[in-house]
């Protein structure tokens, strides 16, 4: 923004920027509504679940500057709780199952958060990793998770006890609604005063402290929201695949979400969505092609290229491009 801009010009510019963003969101929602008629709904639902998971992770890394290496634990907790409840109590409706799974993850996030936010940087990452590994070993031993075999045959049930989610299309719209709600919550959080304080903490924590903010509380709340949303993603995923498996709790999953977020653009709202679509899409396409053996290698190469040459990710680079040329 140039120095000479009067406040009125700035305000107009901001308003039109907001309008453009609004149009973009409307466009995306329309795209989401027609997508299942073009692509395979189960594949789209998988993308949406992982996009929500990556967005939750991005809330923490991109806006609070906290790199958690244990987000798989929240995904798995949401998945297992929901899966267990829905298959044990047939009377429970899916939205309640998902809600309890989400709450379970948020509570776990609170416990993890209280311990982890006392440290910064690599120590924070290591603590979250260690705690997540503990959860992994808990899930492998606990009788209700089915251990190595996983939890299978979770019923999709009827939404509010009324609408059957058995068909892929019906379930898609439910998952899409869950994603939009989760995404809206993140959008709201980021643009609220609370989100501004988070950004301040990300940029310079001692300065935020000196301004009188209780940064630990802010970080903890962000951690709990992020954990809860990750749990929501896991719980929804259980409904889609009708199973919860140990793969969700494995540290590879924590790594995968970092990959998605960085590839799409950390600290941008749409980045995780793009990153998740790209990673899931590539995995899906490659695993059925003759290049099947090379999925990990190809993803690794892309990651290295991304870190070396376009560090702010796909959306981050696009934003820079727009800023440079069309401001």
């Amino acid at each position: 923004m140039a120095m000479s801009d009067s406040p009125r010009v700035t305000a107009t510019r901001q308003r039109s920027a907001r309008r453009r963003l609004g149009l973009l969101y409307v466009g995306l929602i329309v795209l989401g509504l027609v997508a299942p008629f073009v692509a395979y709904p189960v594949f789209l639902m998988k993308i949406l679940c992982f996009a929500l998971f990556a967005s939750a992770f991005n809330l923490l890394l991109g806006f609070a500057g906290l790199l958690s290496f244990g987000h798989a634990a929240f995904l798995a907790t949401g998945a297992y709780i929901t899966g267990f409840l829905l298959s044990t109590y047939p009377g429970l409706t899916p939205e309640l199952g998902i809600l309890i799974g989400t709450l379970g993850s948020a509570v776990l996030g609170m416990l993890f958060g209280i311990l982890a936010i006392r440290r910064q940087g690599i120590y924070f990452a290591m603590i979250t990793l260690a705690l997540a590994q503990m959860m992994f070993f808990f899930f492998i031993q606990a009788p209700f998770t089915g251990g190595e075999d996983g939890l299978h045959g979770v019923p999709r049930g009827k939404l509010f006890g009324l609408f059957s989610l058995q068909s892929n299309l019906a379930l898609y719209y439910f998952v899409f609604a869950v994603f939009v709600l989760g995404f809206a919550l993140i959008q709201r959080t980021v643009h609220s005063p609370f989100g501004q304080v988070l950004k301040a903490i990300r940029e310079n924590e001692p300065r935020a402290v000196s301004l009188g903010y209780d940064t630990d509380t802010y970080k903890l709340v962000a951690f709990v929201i992020s954990a809860g949303l990750a749990g929501l993603a896991g719980a929804t995923k259980t409904l889609v695949f009708q199973l919860a498996s140990l793969g969700d709790a494995h540290w590879h999953m924590s790594g995968e979400v970092i990959l998605m977020t960085l590839l799409g653009g950390v600290g941008t709202l749409l980045g995780p969505l793009v990153g998740a679509s790209l990673v899931i899409g590539l995995q899906h396409q490659l695993s059925q092609s003759p290049l099947g053996d090379w999925v990990s290698v190809i993803l690794g190469t892309i990651f290295v290229l991304c870190v070396l040459s376009f560090r702010s990710g796909i959306i981050g680079e696009l934003q820079k491009l727009v800023k440079r040329n069309f401001k």
Binding site: Y40, I140, E148, D149, G247, Q288, G292, V295
Partner: protein, 403 residues
């Protein structure tokens, strides 16, 4: 769908098999989806080699069934239940796949068989170990072909106790799978007059087995049983060899180890190891002939899983040709009604719980001096007859058996 072609086919099927009015091949093609770990831990057990075996079966069958072409799709499940389930759902919804073959990691297999049951398609499991696949997780839509943990553990334990190995030390992976193996072996050893002199549980996965192997050596047991799998077994065997466990007079019993593991570890490490296998390439003329053909294509000898994929695919295609249908229930019924007699099994049969039962073999890994080539690895000690090898139906929890 081409109506004329469709009605011609139906007419042809009616002529061939009078009385089968509903007989037809959906989508005018028999489509087989091959799902396996193509890039991870189980790659050498099934993986691309299994796909090759599947293709061999289709080529040997002639590439078409009653005029309908046979198509193959393949995918890497990366040992993830999500990926496996998602792929199979897509295959059935979009590609009209009739049969899913391969399937290794048991979490993937159980996820896939759930979907197969929902969508009423057929699956033949060749790679998985879990005996629960035809026990509490049995469905009318899948068949378990090659082996499972029951004969691998029970068969090995019983045979070894019979041969005089009556004192055991067990090294167990500390999770549900290991515990199940451990309790199976304990029961069998005690029932046959043996004794468990000690056991130790290790976390899953473990890379340093030194202290456990020392404990096993100190126990004075004649047999050290490895109730674990994959990289744990490989690491335990390597450590045991470094500590000279076999040289000091103890025998190792692998409860879940395969030809490709033995080949990769080498005979120096694995010599003297006793294990159970469902098939070995050097068993008889028929298996040797097939294995040599396979070797020419892949430069590797087939594992029992890869042989099982060939055998089960041929059996499936024969059943499709016989009934003129690719409907899951019809084909399965026909497969179960026909005994399996090929390079893989002699008089194998498919039970109502979906378990294909056939003779298993107790083998001992040769010492480097006995071995005459890279793949000359096993010596067959005894045949475990089919009815003794697998879990008897009287102990089954499968709903298809009870109901």
């Amino acid at each position: 769908m081409n109506v004329i072609k469709y009605s011609t086919l139906t007419a042809a099927a009616l002529l061939l098999a009078p009385g089968l009015a509903q007989a037809e091949i959906s989508g005018d093609a028999v489509k087989i989806g091959y799902l396996a770990d193509m890039s991870g831990t189980y790659r050498d057990l099934a993986g691309p080699g299994g796909l090759e075996a599947l293709n061999m079966a289709i080529e040997d069958f002639g590439g078409e069934v009653n005029g309908a072409p046979i198509e193959v799709l393949s995918a890497d499940d990366r040992n993830s239940a999500d990926v496996g389930a998602n792929t199979v759902r897509g295959w059935i919804d979009q590609d009209d796949v009739d049969l899913v073959a391969g399937m290794v990691a048991s979490s993937v297999t159980i996820a896939v068989t759930n979907i197969l049951e929902q969508q009423d398609k057929l699956g033949i499991v060749s790679g998985s170990a879990a005996s629960s696949i035809t026990n509490e997780h049995c469905t009318p839509n899948h068949i378990h072909w090659v082996y499972d943990t029951y004969p691998m553990a029970n068969g090995t334990a019983k045979a070894i106790v019979d041969e005089g190995g009556d004192t055991w030390f067990l090294l167990t992976a500390d999770y549900a799978f290991g515990h199940a193996l451990e309790s199976d072996v304990e029961t069998v050893v005690k029932e046959n007059g043996g004794e468990i002199v000690g056991k130790v549980r290790h976390p899953f996965p473990t890379s340093d087995f030194s202290s456990y192997i020392l404990q096993a050596q100190g126990s004075g047991a004649k047999i050290v049983g490895l109730a674990n799998a994959g990289s744990d077994t490989v690491n335990a065997l390597t450590t045991a060899s470094q500590f000279g466990l076999v040289q000091s007079g103890q025998t190792l019993a692998g409860l879940l180890i395969f030809l490709n593991d033995v080949q990769a570890l080498g005979l120096d490490v694995t010599q003297g190891l006793q294990l159970t296998t469902g098939w070995y390439w050097d068993m008889d003329d028929e298996s040797r002939e097939w294995a040599n053909r396979y070797y020419e294509r892949t430069q590797r000898m087939p594992t029992m899983v890869q042989a099982g994929i060939y055998s089960s695919t041929l059996h499936y295609l024969n059943a499709v040709a016989e009934t003129g249908s690719d409907d899951a229930a019809t084909v399965r019924e026909q497969m179960a009604a026909t005994p399996v007699n090929d390079m893989f099994a002699d008089d194998g049969r498919i039970r109502e719980d979906g378990r294909m039962v056939h003779d298993m073999y107790l083998v001992e890994v040769k010492s480097p001096s006995e071995s005459e080539g890279e793949w000359d690895l096993y010596e067959i000690l005894r045949t475990i007859p089919a009815e003794e090898a697998f879990r008897p139906l009287s102990e089954s929890q499968c709903s298809l058996v009870k109901g």
